[in-house]
Assembly symmetry: C2
Homo-oligomer: 417 residues x 2
């Protein structure tokens, strides 16, 4: 290890598409988080195009770190030049790797396709590297070592990169470098703005031990608090972190909805599972987004029965049994319609809780009475129905996102009471 006792990593992401703005570099942030959680420290991310000189320059500037991840440029087409460039950098030649070939064969066998010559070429890799299996695609993963630095070349397809990192790389890297144990707690808060929260927890924050640090991460309708810690004594560190979380819980009990970095949809699914209760939604302006958030959680079928996305008024009336006269009298963006949607969804889907949304997501459709960003959210339960009007934003996506989170928080609060 170099400089201090942290194992330092760099990421080099290769791909013209990243520089042209056609693709957002989500690989780097995902890998940054995973490295951090496993005790490695990411010190920089460099994105460059598919050009040999740029790749070589980047590799030449890596001797100050312990690990270099190189993602992308491994596809079967002509613009993918990572492999020949690595050959040049490590002064080696391309050879057919039998394991890589077998892997590609296996993938084509499973998919029932014929393998092309292009794909066979993917089994050629630089001679001096260790082949790391990629069970999820035809591009190889390669491990090089040079003067105490490990270089790992990975496919750029996010799903493949992530799967290889988790199944093949993380343990190998830990065994190789034995990094200082790292710990993290993420506390999800809602219902309090960043500066008010900071004032409220100031004394606690100032009393945190030296080896911990706190970060505020505000998001749509919530603030995430992240405590990071590094300490040689892992057991002591973990216990200290738990202890600080317990203290914090006592200071802001109502604002914490999770002591894990998880979405509110997951918290709601867990609470419903525990209570053996069920949920349905009736969505107009959110257009299925709440259902999507819930159904993204594996195992949600135990509690989620379904949703009626009632974008058209006739669907609200015909399926959810919203009263036609109320629509005429109050318009579809009204307390009456929101509440009848929730009650209707609860009845026809036979659930304990039903959430409903109706509003103007924008950019068009606003009126003086109901400008863009006006959203009614209703919750029907065995006790009856409650609803609330919100004025969010001018931005369509923002409105949809905030409506979803606010609806789920309404349900969470109801279950707490």
């Amino acid at each position: 290890m170099k400089e201090n006792n942290f194992v330092k990593a760099k990421i080099i992401t290769i791909g013209d598409e990243l520089l042209l703005g056609q693709v957002v570099n989500t690989n780097a942030s995902w890998l940054g988080e995973q490295l951090n959680l496993n005790g490695f420290q990411l010190v920089s991310v460099l994105t460059i195009g598919d050009g040999e000189k740029d790749i070589l320059d980047a590799l030449n500037a890596c001797s100050d770190v312990d690990i270099v991840f190189i993602t992308g440029g491994l596809g079967p087409t002509a613009d993918d030049i990572t492999k020949p460039t690595l050959c040049k950098y490590f002064d080696t030649e391309m050879v057919l790797n039998e394991d890589a070939l077998e892997n590609i064969n296996e993938i084509f066998r499973l998919r029932g396709y014929q393998m092309s010559e292009r794909n066979r070429l993917q089994a050629f890799i630089p001679k001096s590297c260790t082949y790391i299996p990629n069970r999820f695609g035809t591009a190889p993963c390669m491990w090089f070592e040079k003067e105490n630095t490990v270089y790992i070349s990975m496919p750029g397809v996010p799903f493949e990169m992530k799967s290889i990192f988790k199944t093949e790389l993380v343990e190998r890297l830990k065994n190789h470098f034995k990094p200082t144990p790292y710990g993290r707690r993420v506390i999800m808060t809602t219902g309090i703005g960043e500066s008010f929260l900071a004032d409220k927890i100031k004394d606690w924050e100032e009393s945190l031990p030296e080896f911990m640090s706190l970060a505020y991460l505000p998001q749509y309708g919530m603030v995430r608090l992240r405590i990071d810690a590094r300490h040689e004594d892992e057991c002591f560190m973990q216990k200290s972190l738990d202890c600080e979380v317990e203290k914090l819980k006592k200071i802001i009990p109502d604002n914490i909805f999770a002591c894990d970095d998880k979405p509110i949809s997951e918290v709601v699914v867990e609470m419903l599972k525990e209570r053996k209760q069920t949920l349905a939604t009736a969505e107009s302006c959110t257009g299925g987004s709440i259902a999507k958030m819930i159904t993204a959680i594996p195992g949600c079928s135990a509690i989620f029965k379904g949703s009626v996305v009632s974008y058209a008024t006739e669907v609200k009336e015909n399926i959810l049994k919203v009263n036609h006269n109320d629509v005429e009298r109050h318009t579809v963006v009204s307390r009456e319609v929101a509440e009848q949607m929730a009650v209707g969804a609860r009845e026809i889907m036979n659930v304990d809780y039903a959430l409903a949304t109706t509003g103007i997501a924008g950019p068009d459709g606003g009126s003086e009475e109901n400008p863009v960003g006006t959203v009614w959210i209703a919750l029907a339960t065995a006790k009856g129905v409650v609803s609330k009007r919100y004025n969010f934003d001018k931005d369509r996506n923002n409105n949809i996102e905030r409506s979803c989170i606010t609806a789920l928080e309404m349900l969470r609060q109801e279950m707490l009471n």
Copy 2:
């Protein structure tokens, strides 16, 4: 201009949160696209933490480009050290800038808040820079020049960065550098894998003029093709690009769903609008994701009536009128259930087209007959109902995403016939 006649740019994004993976670097991809579309060439993006040495090292490695964008680290808190570091690098001192102060005053006046001392400090900027107004926030934008390279320091808040770039910077940069005109076409293809596509269009690709380049951008169930061109004669370049797209259309007519960079959901919404026809969905394994994709498109209400997200079997039976005996006999992941869902949705929501999905998204729930990744997709039309079985993947998200795209493509093909 240096090296060749392209105006080259670099982005340095500053922020520990980007390295810890808590925030995805969307600024870089947005800026990359804007630069490119305006004739500048982004050659690299470097992400580093809030550390003086790292920032200085990064600035010292910029003399090979014409423009350097520095985003982030301009907030009012102590961890934001970009300004003092720029002072050091440009060997200058901080002075109060009256325009910056007036701008901050104005923002506080509009918001009706009292200005704090912290915010007043934001009006101090390095003496040697040109102040570029930021009408959208309290952090300044600063323009430096040193040995033919322009350095622009911008706030990291995406909305502010984007607004400043569009309103204050792009014209200034074009006047300063007069870059070579740039053109781009994006062709969206589906129904053919990357290597098969590459084989099919090989001759066309090889015959592209020198000033064009082609890139393959594979995604769930589709491949985007991007043609980039740079040429002094803008009119000639644009016509040549159109000409190449026309040639390509003749080679793979069935696989192209758009000659614009837009999602298939948008293409389907446009086609339906033009035909004055309507759509509804009945979603089991996709859990509302198709509805969400459709309702993300502004103006979709003209063609989209709604969705029944029938996660529970009873919702399939009660609302969509799926036959209970067929569920018992064939299970919910079957041709019979998919087709009845589509037909039911078409009838109860009174639409021209209804898409239905039922499958095993995973990670659990697979069987020998229907392993994880098995999905039935059905489309009901005035002519009847068609359906097809797919075997996607092991990954839940991947299965959901591919099911959505495949369903929308099924509808698109139906409308083409």
